[in-house]
Symmetry: none
Subunit: 242 residues, 2 copies
DNA sequence: TAGCACCTATAGCACCGTTATATGAACTGC
DNA sequence: GCAGTTCATATAACGGTGCTATAGGTGCTA
């Protein structure tokens, strides 16, 4: 019978640690800060988590389960390739939403002590890819495809986190995503801008056009028109809305 | 007039720090260990580097310059795409050779304090890609291509470092490398988004996007925006020469 | 009420990064 | 040659850190 307004010390420790880690910009957080914020003394921490590292591991584990829940919560569109895009974007978004947590989860992996949850993330992505494979859309094994996609996804997210939020260019994500997907999956019959149902992929075509416009500006559009045009193009190719 | 057998304390500190960081498997290394290994007392460290972090930054900076030297030392084969593969593989190899250093260099980047050397690495890769662009083998701008390639390269290397050396599968690297390269560059002839000169064809890409939009309307644009967008697209597609 | 887990607090240890102060060494101008 | 200056190193200590030996509640079962 707990009072509702007052979570147990263990929970308060977890929350305090998570909050302090998220605020304090990557600088180390002391156990004293945490225990004070949780209104608890030192031995309580060590009773519940054994270690400072144990507490942080618990925070990371919670982060992973939040991430995996979000991934599993995504709908299945019936178009496997489209699902891949969705999961990729969701991964990036999670990283941008929880940058410090993400750095510990995916950027800091020590060889031997690697969180097993990364393997879960990989396994889940593999499931999504297995659906693509079932639709005969994969040109490599789901396992290899999952590893490659996850690696690229992490690299892109780390790079986006590393640069100031203001000048973040999400097209890096869209572009790399399409690169990996098109290497791993086949766009049905031959046409690189068309997917299974024969419906042309707007995103792929938009990215191609955007790329082409980088090196050669059309003279049919005024510079102000071009500016707006490129903005829309960006919007289409990053599919952040939806 | 230095004795040859005895490097200056500053150098000894640097070497000791680098060695201890490399050995001690990612666990924190104390200033006392370092100063003891360098046969030096604490104030010497602070005189030369100001800070523990300053010392570690110096180690990282040395790592970066070693990396960049290796990159710049690679020969130019005359085949830009082949060069890209070589630089990619060299990056991965550097990460596997100095895993802990690599983690600090590329896996640990804090947004504000990001080492400027990462930008140098990016800039160098951009130079290599500029050569590919000059050979009319690029379908996106060198800058975007460099960012995408570097991001994927880092992601793959981190993933390889994270798994036990025994079961490392380098094919993950090769596969992802080819994915990114083929999305960024064209294998000489035959690419539908590339015209004879090898420069990306805005017209072809615009036509493809136009076609794609016929059957699937993006929800990122309002209907009035879409109308104008399609009109401009038409104008670009019907371009005569150039 | 007694016993028994469980959880929490007091007080302190050993270590850490860091520095105020002092000492030595090497070069300068005279 | 020697005072003055500057650079490089050492002694000793301070406050903060992760952690724990020990002891004190607290609620449960008997």
């Amino acid at each position: 019978m707990k009072k509702v307004g007052e979570p147990a010390p263990k929970d308060r420790l977890l929350r305090a640690a998570a909050a302090l880690l998220a605020e304090s910009n990557g600088e180390p957080v002391s156990t004293r800060q945490i225990t004070e914020a949780a209104r608890v003394t030192a031995p309580t921490l060590y009773h519940h988590f054994g270690d400072k590292e144990g507490l942080f591991d618990a925070v990371v584990a919670e982060g992973f389960s939040e991430y995996l829940d979000a991934e599993r919560g995504l709908p299945t569109s019936g178009q496997p390739i489209e699902d891949l895009r969705m999961h990729w974007d969701n991964h990036v978004q999670f990283g941008l939403d929880h940058p410090h947590l993400y750095l510990v989860m995916f950027g800091n992996i020590r060889p031997e002590r690697r969180p097993s949850m990364v393997a879960s993330a990989e396994a889940f992505l593999e499931e999504v890819l297995a659906r693509a494979a079932a639709a005969a859309r994969l040109v490599v094994s789901p396992r290899e495809a999952a590893r490659s996609m996850l690696a690229a996804n992490i690299g892109v997210t780390l790079m986006l986190i590393a640069e100031p939020a203001a000048k973040r260019n999400l097209e890096l994500s869209a572009m790399t995503r399409e690169a990996v997907i098109s290497a791993v999956a086949t766009d049905s019959e031959g046409d690189p801008t068309t997917d299974t149902e024969g419906t042309p992929s707007v995103v792929v075509a938009a990215i191609a056009l955007n790329a082409a416009l980088q090196s050669s500006h059309p003279d049919q559009l005024s510079s102000s028109e071009l500016k707006l045009f490129l903005e829309w193009l960006q919007r289409i190719s990053s599919r952040s809305g939806s």
